[in-house]
């Protein structure tokens, strides 16, 4: 009997692998703040993860949408929440890599206000063209734009969006000038390309997949350095555009307020790594053209900092200044 009990204790210790504090955590429901309206890229990621976290932690995990102010409101709420592991933030590229490059006064700072847990998902953006437009490849696009600078419309989900920056990055590297046409979100921008309102655009794969399947939109190239794991036949901008260095993607990540106890962060990181490796979770993200993350917090922060520096250069070169 004693042996059995001892074994059980050992098993439990191995299973949890963390001190008492984390063993009792969580004792009440968790909130995942999403600084955007329901249905968006970050929201869908949060909801996929929330469902699994709920099963594994044995506590309810509530997704709370705090939209408004370019994501500032929700992110600030995440920064100010008490660091007890019960309020977490699901943010995307915009908050920590793009906004610092674009806006002067930001009420939060990645390393001052947050503990990064891990990346949840990462997806390339897609340079896509209307299927009936004369632009049918990246070389076509470069040729047309060189002949008519500032006249080829590039649809994006908004000024200073990651898509806009990725488009400007490519244009700068290819030595062309495109006419930036911002829309209010990814879906209207995708429709604009499908309807031929603009000849091309820089889109999240999930916003144009339906139009690609319908044959209205033609994928030209992905914006990342490597091809997408799901859509291997789409070339990269570096391959077909003769542009070096262009490597833009959109990711989502899980963050906790600064000062959250280390054991809790470790527990969450371990759970996330396990969740992000699950086949059904990977499958759900793959639907939207995304891969799952799961790297260590240090690696994640390094990626964010590298991107933020790159975007700062783009913003200066393309003179994107909304303020």
């Amino acid at each position: 009997m004693r042996v059995a009990a001892g074994l059980l204790c050992a098993l439990l210790a191995v299973a949890c692998g963390s001190p008492v504090q984390a063993q009792s955590y969580p004792t009440k429901p968790l909130r995942l703040i999403v600084p955007y309206a329901p249905g968006g890229f970050a929201d869908v990621a949060a909801r996929i993860v929330a469902e699994k976290l709920q099963q594994r932690l044995g506590q309810q995990v509530i997704v709370e949408n705090r939209s408004g102010g370019n994501g500032f409101i929700g992110t600030t709420a995440g920064a100010k929440a008490s660091p007890d592991g019960y309020t977490l933030l699901v943010a995307h590229t915009g908050e920590f890599a793009v906004s610092p490059a674009v806006f002067k006064d930001i009420p939060f700072e990645l390393e001052r206000d947050f503990e990064s847990i891990t990346m949840i998902s990462i997806a390339p953006l897609l340079v896509a063209a209307n299927a009936k437009s004369p632009i049918q490849s990246i070389p076509d696009l470069i040729k047309t734009a060189k002949a008519k600078p500032n006249a080829v419309g590039m649809g994006t989900p908004g000024t200073a969006s990651i898509n806009h920056l990725a488009g400007e990055w490519f244009a700068d590297a290819a030595g062309i000038k495109l006419l930036h046409v911002p829309y209010k979100g990814g879906a209207p921008a995708g429709v604009a390309v499908a309807a031929g309102e603009v000849p091309m655009g820089v889109m999240a794969i999930s916003s144009v997949m339906a139009q690609i399947q319908a044959g209205r939109v033609k994928p030209l190239a992905v914006t990342t350095a490597k091809r997408s794991a799901q859509y291997k036949d789409w070339p990269t901008l570096q391959e077909v555009g003769n542009v070096k260095d262009v490597d833009a993607s959109i990711w989502t990540g899980l963050f906790a307020p600064k000062g959250t106890p280390k054991p809790i962060l470790d527990r969450l990181h371990a759970e996330m790594v396990a969740i992000l490796a699950m086949p059904d979770v990977r499958e759900k993200f793959a639907q939207g053209g995304a891969d799952t993350g799961g790297m260590s917090p240090a690696e994640f922060v390094a990626i964010i900092k590298r991107e933020a520096a790159a975007y700062r250069t783009i913003v200066e070169k393309a003179n994107i200044k909304p303020e």
Binding site: P38, G68, I73, P182, Y183, A195
Partner: protein, 500 residues
């Protein structure tokens, strides 16, 4: 006979015990949140989203869709009874609907709203079943210039909404346009008129403004009256059901409302919203003896209610056939499908016909449920008006606050509610009506967005507004409407001048 086999497939999916039950839950919840001011379908669908993960996708969509169009039904109830539009689409219903309630005709107003919604919903569902793919093509034909001109037409129509002075209505539209400028500019990303408040970066909260200007302002105004006069309903409750004469009077109004709603509903972004305003405008221009409009004309309830429900059904067309959400609730439903691993759009329609046709069939069933649910409730709702005002008004205020807060979970929205309540009260005292202001607020930013985009793409050439046939047609219609409003006004002024 393709359509028959498809419909048979659809009803096969929709008429299972489980799906009927979820359809009923959906429309029931929809009605409930529609009745409660402010708590809208977006918040409800967001809250129920986790529940749908373990459901079959068709079942999940049947329930979520039910919430969406059920809310359109419920919204009219609050608009008629207490003059609070829960959704932008029920703003116009407050005009004649609440006037009817004040005359003791709340019953027929609620009855006709339910009947008009049912008829329109059934016809529009048929439109979705028969013409989805070609209609989706039409939606893609709309270019920024066309949208802009459609909005111009809508704004001119806003003036017709006015009960009294045209000058005041124009002033209200302009005030609405100005308020609509608050927030980020889509083209440059510049943040305008927010005074550094991040919560205003995406514009003024529509719900806070609508609830403040209509609901809370009305409550303050009522409290000013002496206790005996405070009762919302003057006189008795009256008949509960619309009479045969009422119904006969409304047949064409419902038909016109359904047609307009079905057409405008397919336009992603603002189409469905315009439909109830457009239906009211058309009705006031076309109907015989339009003098009663604004003072409780039953046709002024029937037409916009038919239009907003028809629009709610046909707004599923862009979502189901193109994968394009036409409003935030639809965006959420697309999110729900994506979590289920389905990319809504043309492929989904071919690969998963049971999903598309199941939803279509469930819409008709849902509309039937709504009629059966709402008609018996009319008597109950009307009796609610007999509740003493000192008990009713705290409840109204509380639900307004919950509703406004539930949208963004942001306390700042409650401050907005307070400000717009005060503004609404002042405007009420000045005899200025909030409905044209609301239309200006909603249409203004969209109008600017489309105009600037049209000019951006045309490289600054304004001729694009005239060379596009659709745009030219809308501008002509707007001009004709303007002339028809201006001529009687000029004539009266001349008569006044002659007398002097």
């Amino acid at each position: 006979m393709d359509i028959l086999s498809n419909l048979a497939l659809g009803f096969g999916v929709a008429v299972t015990l489980q799906n009927l039950a979820y359809c009923f839950i959906g429309v029931f919840l929809g009605t409930l949140i529609g009745v409660l001011p402010g708590i809208g379908p977006v918040a409800t669908v967001a809250m129920l989203l986790p529940l749908t993960f373990n459901l079959n996708p068709a079942t999940a969509m049947i329930m979520l869709a039910g919430i969406y169009y059920g809310a359109q039904y419920g919204g009219s109830t609050t608009a008629i009874l207490v003059n609070i539009p829960g959704e932008s689409s029920s703003v116009v219903t407050t005009i004649d609907g609440h006037a009817m309630a004040k005359q003791g005709r709340a019953g027929p107003a609620l009855g006709i709203a339910a009947i008009a919604s049912f008829v329109a919903g059934s016809i529009a569902t048929l439109v979705v079943a028969l013409f989805s793919p070609p209609l989706a093509e039409i939606a893609l034909k709309f270019q920024p210039a066309d949208y802009f001109s459609l909005m111009v037409f809508g704004l001119v129509g806003a003036v017709v909404l006015a009960r009294g002075s045209i000058r005041k209505a124009v002033a209200m539209v302009v005030l609405g346009l100005l308020l609509g400028l608050v927030g980020s500019d889509v083209n440059s990303g510049v943040i305008r008129f927010t005074f550094g408040i991040p919560a205003l970066a995406e514009g003024i909260s529509f719900a806070a403004l609508a609830m403040g200007m209509f609901g809370v302002a009305e409550v303050i105004y009522n409290l000013e009256q002496r206790a005996a006069e405070r009762q919302v309903v003057v006189g008795g409750i009256g008949r509960v059901m619309p009479s045969l004469a009422d119904l006969r009077q409304c047949i064409w109004s419902v038909a016109r409302g359904t047609g307009l709603g079905s057409l405008l509903g397919i336009l992603p972004g603002g189409g469905a919203l315009l439909s109830s305003f457009a239906a009211y405008t058309v009705e006031k221009k076309v109907a015989r003896a339009p003098k009663n409009f604004g003072d409780g004309d039953i046709r002024g309830v029937a037409a916009p209610e038919a239009a907003n429900n028809a629009g709610a059904q046909t707004s599923f067309i862009p979502m189901l056939t193109l994968g394009v959400p036409s409003n935030p609730t639809m965006a959420l439903m697309i999110g729900a499908l994506m979590i289920q691993g389905i990319q809504p759009g043309p492929q989904a329609m071919l690969q998963r016909p049971e999903l598309f046709w199941g939803i279509v069939a469930s819409m008709w069933i849902g509309n039937l449920f709504l009629l059966l649910l709402n008609l018996p409730l009319v008597g109950l709702w009307v009796r609610l008006l007999a509740v003493p005002y000192r008990l009713l008004f705290p409840a109204i205020l509380m639900f307004c606050c919950i509703g406004v807060y539930s949208i963004n979970n942001n306390p700042f929205d409650l401050f907005q509610l307070v400000v717009f309540s005060a503004l609404g009260y002042v405007l009420l005292k000045l005899g200025c009506e909030p409905a044209p202001l609301i239309l200006g607020l909603v249409l203004g930013p969209m109008m600017e967005e489309y105009l600037r985009r049209a000019l951006l793409i045309s490289l600054g050439d304004p001729m694009v507004l005239i060379t596009s046939p659709l745009s030219a047609a809308f501008l002509m219609a707007a001009l004709a409407l303007l002339v028809s409003i201006a001529i009687p006004a000029i004539r009266t002024q001349r008569e006044v001048a002659m007398k002097e």
